[in-house]
Subunit: 407 residues, 4 copies
Amino acid sequence: MAKEKVVLAYSGGLDTSCILKWLINKGYDVICYMANIGQDEDFNMAKEKALKIGASKVVIEDIREDFVKCYVWPAISYGLLYENRYLLGTSLARPCISVGLINCVKENDATYIAHGATGKGNDQVRFELSCYTLLPDIKIIAPWRIPEFINRFEGRQDLLKFAAENGIPVSVTPKAPWSMDANLMHISYESGILEDPNQEAPEDLFLMTTSPKTSVEASTRLEITFEKGVPILLSVIEEGKIYSNPLDIMLALNVLGGKHGIGRIDIVENRFLGLKSRGVYETPGVTILHSAHTDLEVFCMDKEVYRVKQVLRERLSDYVYNGFWFSPEGEYTRKCLDLSSETIEGTVKIELYKGSVTILGRSSKSSLYNADLVSMDKHAGFSPEDATGFINIQAIRLKEYNKFLKY
Amino acid sequence: MAKEKVVLAYSGGLDTSCILKWLINKGYDVICYMANIGQDEDFNMAKEKALKIGASKVVIEDIREDFVKCYVWPAISYGLLYENRYLLGTSLARPCISVGLINCVKENDATYIAHGATGKGNDQVRFELSCYTLLPDIKIIAPWRIPEFINRFEGRQDLLKFAAENGIPVSVTPKAPWSMDANLMHISYESGILEDPNQEAPEDLFLMTTSPKTSVEASTRLEITFEKGVPILLSVIEEGKIYSNPLDIMLALNVLGGKHGIGRIDIVENRFLGLKSRGVYETPGVTILHSAHTDLEVFCMDKEVYRVKQVLRERLSDYVYNGFWFSPEGEYTRKCLDLSSETIEGTVKIELYKGSVTILGRSSKSSLYNADLVSMDKHAGFSPEDATGFINIQAIRLKEYNKFLKY
Amino acid sequence: MAKEKVVLAYSGGLDTSCILKWLINKGYDVICYMANIGQDEDFNMAKEKALKIGASKVVIEDIREDFVKCYVWPAISYGLLYENRYLLGTSLARPCISVGLINCVKENDATYIAHGATGKGNDQVRFELSCYTLLPDIKIIAPWRIPEFINRFEGRQDLLKFAAENGIPVSVTPKAPWSMDANLMHISYESGILEDPNQEAPEDLFLMTTSPKTSVEASTRLEITFEKGVPILLSVIEEGKIYSNPLDIMLALNVLGGKHGIGRIDIVENRFLGLKSRGVYETPGVTILHSAHTDLEVFCMDKEVYRVKQVLRERLSDYVYNGFWFSPEGEYTRKCLDLSSETIEGTVKIELYKGSVTILGRSSKSSLYNADLVSMDKHAGFSPEDATGFINIQAIRLKEYNKFLKY
Amino acid sequence: MAKEKVVLAYSGGLDTSCILKWLINKGYDVICYMANIGQDEDFNMAKEKALKIGASKVVIEDIREDFVKCYVWPAISYGLLYENRYLLGTSLARPCISVGLINCVKENDATYIAHGATGKGNDQVRFELSCYTLLPDIKIIAPWRIPEFINRFEGRQDLLKFAAENGIPVSVTPKAPWSMDANLMHISYESGILEDPNQEAPEDLFLMTTSPKTSVEASTRLEITFEKGVPILLSVIEEGKIYSNPLDIMLALNVLGGKHGIGRIDIVENRFLGLKSRGVYETPGVTILHSAHTDLEVFCMDKEVYRVKQVLRERLSDYVYNGFWFSPEGEYTRKCLDLSSETIEGTVKIELYKGSVTILGRSSKSSLYNADLVSMDKHAGFSPEDATGFINIQAIRLKEYNKFLKY
């Protein structure tokens, strides 16, 4: 009988290498799937390693452009922000990688998807819910939730021992005392020494951004142009450079943001499973885009539509964080938010300097801003007497309220 | 017959000085009320000026402590933010000043309140709604909405001419090409050259903060301790200084924030009357407090209560901006939010540097953060198998959805 | 110089007849616009009357089909309900009539719209906001807010006197001691004796429905089929009759609902202006449709999308009540709600009897209801053990909470 | 070693009797806990049965008053309604019973709670989450989720066989082809033939209410008086009877509602686990109270506070349905809603007739309703000109919007 096929979300690291071997030992035919979603990785070396361990096939897919266009750009236009601070870098990557996994399953006629996400985290949920929605019959193997596996690998030493016994190459670089997840949008850091929420994150932790304190002294001025809520043009003024391809814009802003120490946050967040978890994030380029978009949004949108959008964006932020990008509510809310972005177009002037993104000005053809109407020096059809009526009518209810305060 | 008494919200400036004289000419007995709410003003000179113009009385009241304790502190604990960016510095001052006005009315048996707020702005609404709620029978004189007054004073030249004719002293300092409003919390700038939303705010506009670019090179480390959501202790570590009085904390943070270029924003916002307006704000101290509180809030609050609070805080932000601090919904929402703050206590470690507030760590006895539970290295009663069930149950609905996607 | 043209929303009654004459006396050229929106009115007689008074033209337009298809049907699919009870019969008619008014203005090159809505009510707001959005330069004449008019016509006697003096025919039927507004959807009753909220509405008030107490003894069974949230088929089972045209469905349900005493409510509601007002409504057909749609909605929609819809529908209910059908937020919310209705299709079985609409059953091809999955007797891929994990994970947060309850 | 003690939520029926025996066979010392929460049950017979089967102890507790005062009354004041229709009769009973179970655990020093709730339903979640919050160390035995148990008892026949083998008395009444859950508030019916959502519920299913068709011809008039949102007085006018004790009011209204065929609904609802489920409910007394309260609520509450309450009540409805009565968010939301009920007092006049609850009038000392202010015939300080200003200001934003419609 043919072996059952497993598509393993493979990272090249110790954990998924041991899982690969463990699955092979269990009798599975394992195909390793690696998505290039912008992380700093030697994909060829990882491929060789997987094949050496015994993978029947290694699929490497560059999904960076998809990630930017179908996940990062929409998230910016929606203004997604989890618990008011987290830009959802990891959360957005998961459904994008899941699409790759499911395609790999279909192309290779596999039965299972396996992943190395831990049992207390959000990523297991995001991967699995995405996969179940996309292919309800898929079966999932999550070794970090299987008692046999957990009991065998109680700590890192057990993994290293297993690696040594099974000829799995191990990086000579000592492991950092925290775990990280990187993609085009951000790097997140958690666990290890960061589990103490009062322990300051060490400076050498950050890989995408320099510290504001050591960042360049000269500020950089940018202009970012949006259409339907997404960036379509980045102009770096002093350098005279212009970017219009989404991936190019993303990469250029990451470099600029990194250089100026932009986009670091240190937060405690609520995981979907109900745990509180401390995370440190650096999101240079998207922090700039989020600031610019936030500015243009209020400028261009109708006041009341903005308030409806606010409700929808908070819901979607939770959906995305919790793994429901692909879900009825995720898709519905995205469609609604897309409708709200139609008028968000224009250009924002920005300055980057030592950790700060400063908005200097904005212009738009579609803004409801009317300089004449708001001007102190012009009437422009505005009758000040109307404000009296407006206030008096608002006061009716309040005056009644006062009567009954004494009741 | 005795003259009818008017309490005029007097600023000492050209506008309210002309209004004072105009009211006197109309036959009113005018009492000038000046609130010291933290603005940089020579109150004695203003008093002399008002008396010289003909005010029957000038009342100067230091309401700074009230402002900090009853308006700024609650706003921080509620996390109020209008349209995601504006900390509501002016909006919070208006009801506080209105209480002073109404008290002055009662003590002096006055019939009217007069103010110099313009007819297109928010402040007229905030003053008047506050006053109507507190004293429904009060009558309001808003000269900038009275055709006779508007027609007479079409521009600044008309005011200057009226001042010259009526012996009203005029400041020799040339007027800035924008208007401003200052209090303990912030200074706001709008109008004039700022009416062009793409015109960069000039550096010399800012009075409370230095530019991040010229700010000191050495960062400052702070610890702020909160209880029930409000700051009770500020410790400036290197300086070895500790502040515990609310007003002292506020003043010290304004100095520190100002020194490090903290809290500048340049935004377009939606006024209550439906106009879009461009405003530049500097809010040094409260920006620091808001960041610190935001951090502690997620750390200490239950995940779901936090989400309810989020809904309530957005509503209250609008109420406050629109002038409904004193209103059934304002009072009700504040009471609800107070209930949610009971567990927000602990200390946040912060660093200030060139425009940025960086959170370094936090600790709390009341946090639901459980380091053992979240640790990668401990089980702490957590069964990873449970996560499988959790995910599978969540997937039921999604799998059904997939079926009907094909329908 | 040619007279300025006014389009008057004319009802044929005493008020608008006097307004017509008053406008003519003021020197306007008045065109009377009458919308047939389903009210019981002798349009020809009203036309003659208006011409006799001096209208330069009378435009009568049958907008019933537009009303049903573009306002009533969407409202049903959105599930609109103001303050949980009012089906918005009058609120929905106003924007529909406003379109007619604006078209009449454009066709006749008029400058003004005049209406007889009172100064304390909602209808003035609904008419005017609709008209301003559709044609911002339109000018409005609202006599019941013009001091000259109000002072002249302080009570009904003044109107009757003016009518007598100006040869305006007056109906011999004595006026009911309340006012009413009728259209295809409902009749509303308010004012007069109804102003006492504890005064029971008299039985002879109701014109569209018989009292449940005197209604027929035999119940009626219906099946209503929906597609994209709107009714496309009505089958009256015993009678063997089928209706598929929207207007026919509406009319047939009004007759059936009326016969069975369906859809009467007596409520106090909050007007947009901040007053509380008592209204009695009878809405026979739409009450049936609303019940049927509400049933199908939960049956067909995804659970979480339903919750987002709930938020949007409440907002839209307020927008519509307040006169913002035509507005950025009104249009945006309607588009979002339209998206949510795509899967609402199927048939609901209903019984009408003495004031009650009873749902007997429902079927749908697009429902996410899965009888196998929910069955007590089948596993259908459901693992009960998963529920254990689901509950245990939900309990993590609660157990932590308990710890701190004792803190 | 002493046997471990289990507190079993015992109903006296076949399922929990078999579970009782199965637990005894497993070696547990089983204490049966029966809550009298208003269901129609012969508690003494059930007690004898349990003791006969081998329970070490049977605790019967009358928690009806607690249920009414601490769960039903608050739910009425909050206006709880799940998915716009379900009054939460079962959901509210579960936390109340859980308190009894936990008390029984503590008094008897037990280690476990066992229950007979099924693995696909909501009740398992409600019981267990309540228990975990109240006593985090409690252990739960849910046989219908244990593979060994499920495999042994695949259908009713297996239970009957086990009963016969173990001397468990079985009721001679044939089981209805649906399951039911009864308490003081309602009876719910589901499963069996009701699993087909298009299958009409048979008339003989209903136990608390007569059919509207066969109900009495004479209507009944009531007056219900509320204070702080809860009923404090019921006056049945024709009968001259007055009830003021909560349990008496509840029982009297159940009888009256039952007699008039009040409170039947047939719905499909979304379970917490993501399944859609069909339920038939009869809730006679609480349907009357809910209608009366809904009426008084809008009458007494401020318009805007009402809107905040609406948001909170929908959240709490979900929390309660999902089993989170005892939870941070449940407790917080209840406290907020309690604050909103303070002004809800007054009397509602009601008529019951053949399935309908008709509101005839209402009065209240705390209502913000002002008959003079709203009257068509009085000015009462209202200036109609103010409405012009109010509308014109609202129109500013709409007119701007129109401009850009053409853009």
